[in-house]
Symmetry: C2
Amino acid sequence: MASIFSRIINGEIPCYKIKEDAFFIAFLDIAPLREGHVLVVPKQEVDKLFDVSGDILSRWLLFAQPIAHAIEQVFACNRCGLSVIGLEVPHAHMHLVPINNAGDLNFEQPKLKLSAERMKEIQDLLCEQIGKVG
Amino acid sequence: MASIFSRIINGEIPCYKIKEDAFFIAFLDIAPLREGHVLVVPKQEVDKLFDVSGDILSRWLLFAQPIAHAIEQVFACNRCGLSVIGLEVPHAHMHLVPINNAGDLNFEQPKLKLSAERMKEIQDLLCEQIGKVG
């Protein structure tokens, strides 16, 4: 059965899309640690990040770079943190989260619940900023 | 002033080295979250991961891949997790940590203190395994 991320990639499940190319899709995490929390997912459905093909691995951080810069511009933070855990969905994915301290990347803390209006606003802010920084 | 990681790269400070090439060095974190916790550091001294040059970004996960596979082979874990926080040392670095749950990547938990003998054993185990998986 296709992972929930493959169903998002195939358009079966909606998402707040931030960026897409032939190899990756990025969208807002619907249970974010902080506002601006983005998931970067390869279209190749592989469970573990380091089992993804070398070609995809070499493109991953480059694809994420303008998203991370946009997160750093839009949200008050020291920088964009990055985490790959992957124990809940068997489809490799990278978390990008604006952080001010190590605790902001602690996945044991309660997740936020944002309104659809706020999610759309965050999507628009990030997409606009990515358009500027390219 | 050179970062502590540049001083390790330059050989001024010793480390338990796991792997090195022209662009990166990997060594054991001396205050690990878990046994097998490795730092992957670009030789280019840049504070934030996503400010590193595109060429280095494209090589980073590829360099880390055999280390992550070795961690998964040597230590009892579900997989190798990955985290980039970077608030303490202004030289971009990636943490590779064997994890069984999200809490294993929580940097607010107390760090381990391992003996020099155990650090050397872990270094040897990982280097031997990297030699196998190449």
